[in-house]
């Protein structure tokens, strides 16, 4: 049996599909349009336009169009998707159905409280669950995605300092941070002070201590960090930051490693965001919608976005808009509600077994790390948390890039790991299997990675020319940026 059988990637029939407006013909329709029973009204002169020039397609043409496009895609349901820092765990199907219940799907966001007691209960309970999971006081569900949660968190910190008449304009930024961290800080008017990483892959107290002063609003820290390592000196660091009047923002992108294991309150985190589309299993949807709830400690609770749901003495729920210190709204209504329904359903399904999820996520990452470290360079050899970071250092002398390795994995039927991130590691390959991959699936991925390492030595062109089994081969990014074509011709 050839090694091809160990990995899922095979050739198959690929169907071509045109752009939407290259199909269809004026006068077709793919949807029922109710006939009008009311008189035709007249618009005042000069207001009417031609309406959008969209194609007209029959219903089955729309169905085929998107079904074919879907076959050019790869999701968690298609196969192993070990994209580091993205936590591509399985997305439960029941949660999709529940988010689609007409009671939610057709609910107007401005209905009076008495009409939406169930919806308010979900918001109230989920906030409590999210605070409990990380060991903090309170939460807000308004932020629309992880980066929006970061922005919210930094707005809370800015509001706190403003309230206390402190002029603090800088933020400490470890160089392992996701790009969203410095960008979120900048949106609040903060400039960054870069904090270099220690030689073992985590922040060192002495380094941070030297950089902290009374112009610094706080520290933004991802923990476990993007090398997959727990910040072992963070308790001491945070205590020092607090003593000198700063606050600590915890980036929750990697919370999947520590549920039930770490207590962020005790760690000294003042605010942390969740990516529901990572840690809480809501689907990523090819680019969102996510949701980026924040949980906060006592210091920042008064500044949370409003309005907030509160529980009345009679057990019912209502909105409280009387929040004098609140930063205000982060979303037109109550956050990405139907995404939050999925997260709520997930927490109710898992309960305290969220701890098991984190434990198995960490076990899976360490297993993959052990099984690959003889063939790939592993810059930080200690036990990792939920993800591990390799490089192409062993392949580079043969002129094989990290990109070549990733593209060959595609031909073998795997989504590649995150590549070239974190930036502190040269040509990184960042693997996060998540807890929902079984041992057999991990073994297949490991076999794929090992096959690629051997091919890099023996048949390197297989890597350089990959992928060859996809609907398109490598695409020209440079040409796309040089002469941007961002919309198609409708004619």
């Amino acid at each position: 049996m050839s090694s091809e059988y160990k990995v899922p990637g095979q050739s198959g029939l690929v169907l071509a599909e045109e752009l939407l407006w290259e199909k269809g013909r004026k006068g077709r329709s793919g949807a029922s349009i109710p006939a009008s029973k009311v008189p035709s009204a007249k618009l005042p002169a000069g207001l009417e336009g031609p309406g959008p020039d969209w194609p007209d397609l029959a219903e089955h043409q729309v169905a085929r169009h998107y079904t074919r496009l879907s076959t050019w895609n790869f999701g968690v349901d298609t196969g192993t998707y070990p994209l580091g820092s993205c936590t591509m765990k399985y997305n439960p199907k029941i949660n999709e159905e529940l988010a689609g219940l007409p009671g939610f799907a057709k609910a107007h966001p401005l209905l009076p409280s008495e009409a939406v007691q169930g919806e308010l209960q979900i918001i109230h309970e989920l906030e409590r669950f999210l605070a409990e999971i990380v060991g903090l006081e309170a939460a807000s569900l308004q932020p629309g995605a992880g980066a929006h949660g970061e922005l919210c968190g930094m707005l809370l910190i800015a509001a706190h300092h403003r309230h206390n008449k402190q002029k603090r304009t800088k933020v400490l930024m470890p160089d392992t941070a996701h790009g969203t961290n410095p960008a979120s800080a900048a949106m609040c008017g903060f400039s960054e002070i870069k904090v270099p990483l220690g030689p073992k892959g985590y922040l060192e107290y002495a380094t941070v201590e030297k950089l902290m002063n009374d112009e610094v609003a706080g520290l933004m820290v991802t923990n476990p960090n993007t090398l997959g390592l727990f910040e072992t000196e963070l308790v001491k660091i945070n205590e020092m930051i607090h003593r000198r009047g700063g606050l600590v923002y915890g980036d929750g992108a990697n919370l999947n490693a520590v549920m039930g294991r770490a207590d962020l309150g005790k760690l000294g985190i003042d605010v942390v965001h969740y990516n529901t589309h990572k840690t809480l299993s809501t689907p990523h949807g090819g680019g969102g919608p996510g949701a980026g709830p924040v949980a906060v400690g006592k210091t920042l609770t008064p500044y949370l976005p409003g309005p907030r749901v509160v529980r009345k003495e009679d057990g019912g729920y209502e909105w409280n808009e009387d929040l004098p210190l609140s930063i205000g709204r982060m979303h037109a209504f109550h956050g990405q509600f139907r995404v939050l329904v999925r997260a709520y359903a997930y927490v109710l399904t898992m309960g305290a077994m969220l701890k098991d999820a984190s434990e198995l996520a960490v076990l899976n990452a360490n297993y993959v790390k052990e099984k690959l470290k003889d063939l790939y360079d592993l810059p930080f050899p200690q036990h990792c948390m939920h993800e591990c970071v390799f490089t192409n250092a062993l392949q580079e002398p043969g002129k094989i890039s990290t990109l070549d390795i990733a593209k060959r994995l595609i031909d073998l039927g795997f989504h590649p790991p995150t590549i070239y991130f974190p930036l502190v590691v040269h040509s990184a390959i960042m693997i996060e299997p998540t807890e929902t991959e079984s041992k057999e699936e991990l073994d297949a991925f490991i076999a794929g990675m090992r096959q690629v390492a051997l091919e890099a030595r023996n048949t390197p062109d297989l890597l350089r020319e990959a992928p060859t089994r996809t609907v398109r081969r490598r695409l020209d990014d440079v040409a796309a940026a040089r002469r941007p074509v961002l919309t198609g011709d409708m004619k």
């Binding site: 006068g27 793919g30 029922s32 349009i33 009311v38 009204a41 309406g51 959008p52 007209d56 397609l57 169905a63 998107y66 050019w72 790869f74 968690v76 029941i94 939610f104 966001p109 401005l110 009409a115 169930g118 209960q121 669950f129 999971i133 629309g144 930024m173 969203t180 008017g189 727990f230 005790k266 589309h277 949807g285 090819g286 680019g287 969102g288 919608p289 949701a291 930063i327 205000g328 037109a332 209504f333 109550h334 990405q336 109710l348 898992m350 077994m353 969220l354 198995l360 076990l363 899976n364 200690q382 036990h383 991130f421 041992k439 992928p467 398109r472 020209d476 961002l486 919309t487 198609g488």
Partner: protein, 439 residues
């Protein structure tokens, strides 16, 4: 547990392979003082069947008939749309960082950008923002970058919640003057105040505005352009653009909107779909993902994420925005909706919604309601209610009908005024019944 595939034997074999005795050993890196010392205080896990019963009991708002929009409108969604959008190849994929295995998402978003550009009349559309309110706030920041100016002029008839989000975004930033344009008696922004603002970066206008009134965007564009600023034209109801002139054709530099009406359902307000289009010369300052057309090594047409040097993962603190994940699946769903309804169908629905609104308005006026303002409206409108309406409105709630929303909640001076609206999800008979019961 069905989401955790590990058997005890799997765990044992894997621990052996890693060379540790127990899971605890893998967590030894967490300092003892930061370890959790109590179990997670969460409800006992539910089975799938218990969970369904629980959530079905909590899904309560959907059977109300709401005769008002205020930034969220009911529209029929063809079954085709959620069915196709639910395909897990789309739903369970990440952002398309590996274009060769994401061509489905990429082509669909390229098509989305094109369809939205045809709607807004502006040649660049990004791959989406979180919702209309955050799109508006980002457009304000974009206009500041484009003009290198700080002051912003915003009409008070922009959705009040969107203005609140704008304020949240701008609060921590130094030296941002926000001037609010008051409403004139016609229910349009009073542009005469504009000349008093020194060096405005942008005028933020919504049309149709929060009172449903169609603004004179062409006049607004002329005025703000004369002052050297940009026109940011917002819309909360995309169907308006099916019947009215597009923001681009009226001179807007940036158009932002809420796309929930395009097949997403109201969902108690989320997830939303932030739409954002601009002129081509502003493309380097637009936030968010952009999909562009290119070719593969064999010369075949294909799509990639492009112009990413604007973005946080490349530019970090110098990025035009921090946005990363957006509302991609909502954009995909909206594209499916636009494809299913088609240009012809969308036009018909846009006209139908205008006609239904005018029918309801005429009926209420006949019952003694008075127009709050005089300007022309699309689909939504504000009326002052005659005595007795408040009681009847309370009675209607008993059968889950909400007859209008009180404007005093957002505009204390409009104390007897109500915002009404109606869409194709209500029949003539529904409206007639409401008119009978309302007074």
């Amino acid at each position: 547990m069905r989401y955790l595939p590990h058997t005890p034997e799997d765990v044992k074999e894997m621990l052996d392979a890693v060379g540790v005795k127990s899971i605890d050993d893998l967590f030894a890196g967490i300092p003892p003082e930061a370890r959790r010392d109590r179990p997670l205080d969460l409800p006992e896990p539910l089975t799938e069947w218990e969970l369904r019963t629980r959530l079905e009991g909590l899904a309560q708002g959907g059977d109300w008939s709401v005769f008002a929009g205020a930034g969220s409108a009911p529209h029929h969604v063809p079954s085709l749309v959620p069915y196709l959008a639910g395909r897990s190849e789309f739903l369970t994929a990440y952002t398309p960082y590996q274009p060769e295995m994401s061509q489905g998402t990429l082509q669909a978003i390229f098509e989305f950008q094109t369809l939205v550009s045809r709607l807004t009349g502006l040649p660049v559309t990004n791959a989406s923002m979180y919702d209309g309110s955050t799109a508006l706030a980002e457009a304000a920041l974009m206009a500041q970058r484009c003009t290198k100016r700080r002051a912003l002029v915003v009409s008070e008839l922009v959705h009040p919640h969107w203005r609140q989000v704008l304020k949240t975004y701008l609060d921590p930033l130094p030296d941002v003057e926000i001037v609010v344009l008051p409403a004139g008696p016609d229910g349009r922004a009073d542009l005469s105040e504009l000349s008093k603002v020194d060096k405005p970066a942008a005028l933020l206008l919504q049309s149709p505005n929060f009172l449903g009134v169609i603004e004179d965007a062409a006049l607004a564009a002329e005025a703000i352009h004369k002052a050297g600023g940009l026109l940011v034209s917002a819309f909360a109801e995309p169907f308006a653009l099916g019947l009215l002139k597009s923001p681009g054709s009226l001179g807007a530099d940036i158009a932002v909107g809420e796309g929930q009406s395009l097949g997403l359902g109201q969902g108690f307000g989320g997830p939303g779909l932030g739409l954002m289009s601009s002129k081509m010369e502003l493309v380097r300052q637009i936030p968010g993902r952009l999909v562009g057309q290119t070719a593969d090594v064999e010369g075949r047409r294909g799509f990639v994420l492009t112009l990413s040097t604007r973005e946080q993962h490349i530019r970090r603190s110098k990025a035009v925005s921090n946005i990363c994940s957006n509302a991609g699946h909502c954009a995909l769903t909206a594209a499916m909706y636009m494809a299913a309804v088609g240009g012809t169908g969308f036009r018909e629905l846009a006209k139908l919604n205008f006609d239904l609104g005018e029918y309801l308005k005429a009926g209420l006026l006949a019952k003694g309601f008075k127009p709050l303002v005089s300007g022309p409206t699309y689909n939504e409108f504000a009326l002052t209610a005659p005595p007795g309406f408040v009681d009847r409105r309370e009675e209607l709630k008993q059968r889950k009908v909400l007859a209008g929303l009180p404007l005093k909640r957002w505009f204390p001076r409009y104390k007897d005024a109500w915002l009404f609206g109606v869409t194709e999800t209500r029949s003539k008979e529904d409206i007639d019944q409401l008119l009978q019961e309302v007074l």
